[in-house]
Structures are given as C-alpha cells and as structure tokens.
C-alpha cells in the first residue's frame, strides 16, 4: 500500500506565545517545535495500514523551511520510509496556496491513501487536507475517528454535533485524522537512529497564489479578574444570585 502523510512543524502546545516584532507572527525565540499532534494520528494510521497490508511505502511530505526536515525525521523515526520537503521560507496563511503545492507534489504519485491531521495547532485553519483532496479530484473524509478499509473501499466515522456520521468512499482517498483514530507510537530509540539514514528529498514548493495576508497578531484581552464567592454548599445560593443578577446568564 502506498501512503503519503502530509505533516506540519508547529510550536509545542505548551508554548507561551509572544508576538514578534512584525506584529503579525510569533516570536520564535526559545520556542520548541514538534510534529503537529493531529498529524501523529495520520502517521500512525499510515504505519498500521502498511503493516496490515504486509508491504508498501509510507512517504512523509511537508511544506516548510529547512527546519521542517527535523519534523520529517520524527515521522521517519516512528517508521515511515522516506520524506519530501517542499521548501518555502515562509508558510503563507492561505491554505489554498499550500494545498496547491501539496497537490502538485502528490499528483501522479500513485498513492492509495493520502493522510493529514485534521487541523494544525498553530493556525487552526482546518482546511489544507480537504482542499488538497478537492484539487486532486479525490474523495475526502474530514476528521475521521474511525477508519475501515476493505476491498478498495473506505468506511469511516466522523464526529458531528449529536453523534457520529458514517461515510463511505472508494480508494484512492484522502483522510484527515482526528483524535481517537488510533494511539500514536513513540519513536523507538532504534527508529531515531534509523531515521538518520532514510532519504529526504528537497524541492521548491510550487505554492499557489496567496490571497490572504495577516494584518495583525495580538494577545487576547485578559479576562476581568474574578472572585471566589465562598466555600462549600453555603456558597451555592450566593452563586445563583450572582449568575442571575450580576452576570445575567440565568
């Protein structure tokens, strides 16, 4: 089974965000970068599918600067076979421009499955995977929490308000992965060593036209300071009074 997994290098979720000098991006000094957590589900799914099929290849694709090679290597350490770095000094805020670069790379690659994480935890744009599928003319299941593949067809489940939606499509397909799909493996220490020897090709990213620009990045307004209303059961009536009269949410 030939599987491509598109991944992104993002700041660690514990990072304290500081706005950079340009007022439009974060200050990267001291920031630790990791493989996007939702992409871990995608990498794990690819590895499990290749293992189930008994044979195949898992290719990691990312769009980013040279630093993104480290992110590819994290996925290689988990067990993927090789990587492709589509080089772009700055990642545009326009998901469609990125999807076009990815589609150009993936088209004609003969992939049975193309996996993404459903969303990147830096920009929360929630769009590149589905856009890439649409550009490639491939079926796409967004935010899958369960995936079954049999006889060239896919049955997947995704969370919607009020329950789970069951969807079906044929292979080849694009799936964006959500938490709950699987439990990503830790890269074994042997895997970390082996990753050094796996090939990563670098080429220029063929970005599409960029039609979104960041006007500003700022910190959210601080919430007004709250207070402890009281202790134990005795505080209940005071809380209800405040919710009704002061906060007016009751």
């Amino acid at each position: 089974m030939k599987i491509a997994v598109c991944v992104k290098r993002v700041p660690d979720t514990e990072t304290r965000i500081k706005v950079g000098a340009d007022g439009a991006s974060i200050d990267e000094a001291g920031v630790k970068f990791i493989l996007n957590p939702f992409d871990e589900f995608a990498v794990e799914e690819a590895l499990q599918r290749r293992e189930k099929a008994g044979a195949g290849e898992v290719v990691i694709v990312t769009l980013g600067s040279d630093a993104a090679a480290e992110t590819i290597r994290t996925a290689l350490a988990m067990g993927a076979d090789r990587g492709v770095l589509l080089k772009a000094e700055r990642i545009p805020p326009d998901g469609l421009a990125i999807a076009q670069a990815l589609a150009a790379e993936l088209r004609g690659g003969g992939y049975d499955l193309i996996l993404f994480g459903k969303v990147a935890v830096d920009d929360y744009n929630h769009q590149v995977g589905t856009m890439t599928a649409e550009l490639l003319g491939l079926p796409c299941v967004t935010a899958a929490v369960k995936l079954e593949i049999a006889d060239g067809s896919v049955t997947a489940e995704r969370e919607v308000e009020g329950g789970l939606e069951v969807v079906g499509c044929a292979l080849p397909a694009v799936i964006t992965c959500d938490k709950g799909l699987n439990t990503p493996r830790y890269p074994a220490l042997k895997g970390i060593m082996a990753a050094k020897k796996k090939p990563i090709e670098t080429r220029a990213a063929a970005l599409g036209p960029v039609r979104m620009s960041v006007k500003s990045l700022g910190l959210p307004p601080d919430r007004k300071e709250g207070r402890i209303v009281g202790e134990g059961p005795d505080a209940v009536s005071e809380l209800v009074r405040l919710l009704r009269q002061e906060a007016k949410v009751l």
């Binding site: 514990e14 480290e70 290597r73 994290t74 350490a77 830790y186 890269p187 074994a188 220490l189 042997k190 970390i192 060593m193 990753a195 050094k196």
Partner: protein, 395 residues
C-alpha cells in the same frame, strides 16, 4: 500536578545536543510523563517495581541502549544513553536502577567479557526484556571493599560450583539470569575473581526480597544465596579476570547515574518552581519571597553545573578517553547535588511536600540509596584523592 515536564535548561544545553540526542531525550521524557508517572506513586507505596512497564521500555530500546545494533540494541552514543538515564530518573530512581542494572551491569559485562556465543545467546533476549538480569558483586560484609568478597567458584570437570551470598542486589528476585562475581582461587587472591552468567533457576540459587526499605521502594532489592550452584563451562565470562572487570561494569553504571541523579534534581526543581508560582501566602505567591528565590537560584545553579559536567563526560566517553576517576567526580557531585535539591524542594513545598502526590520526598528518599550505592560518596572522594595525590587513603 499532571502537566508535562519541560526540562530545565538554563544554559541552552539542548543546542549542544544533536537532533538525534534531543529526539531520544524527548521520547523518554514523554514516555515517563505518559506511562511511568501515573503508576509510580502506587508502586512506591506498595513497595513493588512496576513490572508491567518492562516490555514497553524494551520495545522502545531502553535496555543496553549504547550497545551495538547487531545484538538487538539501539546502538546509541553515550550522551544519548545518559539522556535516557536522566529522563528515567526524573521519573523514579528505582525504575532507572532497573534499566542501569539491565544495561550496564548485565548486558555490558556479557558484551565486554563474554564470548561471541554468549553475546548472541543472551544479549538480544535481555534487550527485548524477555529475560531480566541482576549483578551479584556486593556481599553482606563486602560493600565498599568488593575485592574482599568470599563467594567462591570451584572448577569441576563439568564446569564450576558456586557458593556464597550477595546482598542489595537490584532485580535479584525478578531476574532470570545473574552475573555473579566469585573467587576461583584462594580468598586472598583478588586476581582470581571471575564473572559467571548464572541462570537463576539453577538448583541451589535462591533470592529473597529485602523488606523494610524506606528508599528505592519501587525497586526489587534482594539477597542472593548460592549453595552449591553448578554451572557449565560456558557460564564463565572468558575475558573477565580480577577486580578490574566488575569495576569496569560499575564505571558504566556510575556514568549513567551521574546523568540520572540530575534528572531527579531537575524534576524536583521544576515541581518546586511551579508550586512556588501558584501557592499564595500573605497575598502573594511564595515565589515572590526572597528565601524561596534563594532556594530556587541555588538549585538552578547546581543543576546547571551538573548538566555541563555530565555532558562533557559523555563526549569524553564517546571519544574513548574517559577515565573512571572522571566518572567518580561526576557521580559524586551530581548525586550530592540531587540529594540537596530534593531536600530543598521538599522544604519549599511546605506541608504538601510530605505527600506522595508531590515527587520531592520520594526523590529525596530514593537519592539516599543512590548516594550510597555504586560507590558511596565517600569512596568516590577517596578515588579522586588517590588520583590527584598518588596516595591511597582507603585503609
């Protein structure tokens, strides 16, 4: 207190590590947060080693990580190995002790002093966690003076017969195989010490858990008794001879411990700092009071010094120029630092600091064992003294 450990890196030592070394450190760090910490308090209080973690640790390649890939090991360099010990001990000294014994005291002697058949037979199974090992050197009356051991190995036509007792043996009761050091000649003939690979099921071999420990509780510490234990000729580690071989094993373990102890210190410091920032007293977080800041500054300083110490030691080891006395300096310093950091952290935590919910007191108690084992603090003092003056002052 379930937030993730972010490390303590005041001097950006991360930038001195390779990408692989960082990746190794981060994998173990995350595993400790996800898998070890949730079970350690219960294991520590119950006084048992969390055995259920053994297969996962093996699968990730934690055992004998700096031994070659051809024997099923990860083939990492010594800095990466040290980082594994650092992160494991940030979790618990008892769990790190398991990995130290398995890797440095069981797999290493087989690798360094064993025949090719022995290496091929034992190493992959120890790397995979299928077999657990222990290291029998210390005896009830011979701790700091291992050369005085009275366990004997008499040669027979079929092999060897071993008799004696060992004490304070980590993994002793769980082990499938024991590396036992015994005198093949007269009791005053130190050169006659040889190493033997003894399957613990061999008749005459018994192990007993040493109860009543108030330190290293999440670890199996046992006495071994060998009564006419018969082993074949293939049990002998052919390249062993004299006290040098077991001491070389100890050097390996002590190297790992110099990193490990700092891991415990880093964990205690990070916990104390986080606590101080959110614990309010007299209307402000205690982090704002001078005495607590002094504690934190002192801890951070000693940790930072210790980190640079063991990093460079690791580079020397990878270069092949490391001397055992250099390891003594690092083990002695870093374990002492860790003991003090843990104690100060415990005090900063106030009353909360006596609860198992906070790691400081568990680390504090554990580190007393780490101070004493693998060469007591005082022994390493004398090793350094002898090295720089040329005069031995042990007796």
């Amino acid at each position: 207190m379930a937030s993730r450990f972010e490390g303590v890196d005041f001097y950006d030592i991360s930038s001195l590590l390779s990408e692989e070394e960082r990746a190794v450190r981060d994998t173990v760090r995350q595993w400790v947060d996800d898998k070890l910490l949730p079970v350690i308090n219960e294991a520590y209080i119950a006084g048992r080693f969390p055995k259920q973690l053994i297969p996962e640790m093996a699968e990730l390649g934690f055992y004998g990580a700096n031994l070659p890939e051809e024997y099923g090991c990860a083939g990492l360099n010594n800095v990466a190995y040290g980082l594994i010990m650092q992160e494991l001990e940030r979790g618990d000294s008892g769990v790190r002790s398991f990995a130290s014994v398995q890797g440095a005291l069981v797999m290493y002697p087989i690798y360094a002093f064993g025949s090719e058949e022995q290496k091929k037979h034992w190493l992959p199974k120890l790397a995979s966690g299928e077999l657990i090992g222990c290291f029998g050197l210390t005896e009830p009356d011979y701790g700091s003076n291992p050369a005085g051991m009275i366990t004997t190995a008499k040669e027979t036509s079929a092999g060897w017969v071993l008799n004696g007792a060992k004490m304070w043996i980590t993994n002793g009761s769980m082990a499938d195989v024991a590396i036992v050091w015994a005198k093949t000649g007269a009791l005053d003939d130190v050169k006659s010490i040889r190493g033997f690979v003894v399957p613990t099921k061999t008749p005459g071999f018994s192990a007993k858990d040493q109860k009543g420990k108030l330190s290293l509780r999440a670890s199996d510490t046992s006495e071994l008794v060998l009564q006419n234990v018969e082993v074949g000729k293939d049990a002998l580690l052919p390249k062993s001879g004299g006290i040098k071989a077991p001491l070389m094993c100890l050097t390996q373990a002590r190297y790992g411990i110099s990193w490990g102890a700092l891991g415990a210190a880093m964990g205690c410091y990070a916990e104390a700092l986080a606590y101080a920032k959110q614990r309010v007293m007299f209307r402000k977080p205690i982090a704002g009071f001078q005495l607590q800041q002094a504690r934190l500054a002192e801890m951070l300083t000693e940790i930072t010094k210790g980190q640079l110490l063991c990093l460079h030691l690791g580079r020397l080891k990878d270069l092949g120029t490391m001397r055992p006395q250099q390891v003594s300096l690092a083990k002695r310093n870093n374990v002492n630092v860790a003991c003090e950091v843990a104690r100060e952290a415990r005090r900063l935590l106030g009353a909360n600091g006596i609860l198992v919910e906070y790691s400081a007191m568990r680390h504090m108690a554990n580190l007393e064992s780490v101070y004493t084992y693998e060469g007591t603090h005082d022994m390493h003092t004398l090793i350094l003294g002898e090295d720089v003056t040329g005069m031995a002052a042990f007796e």
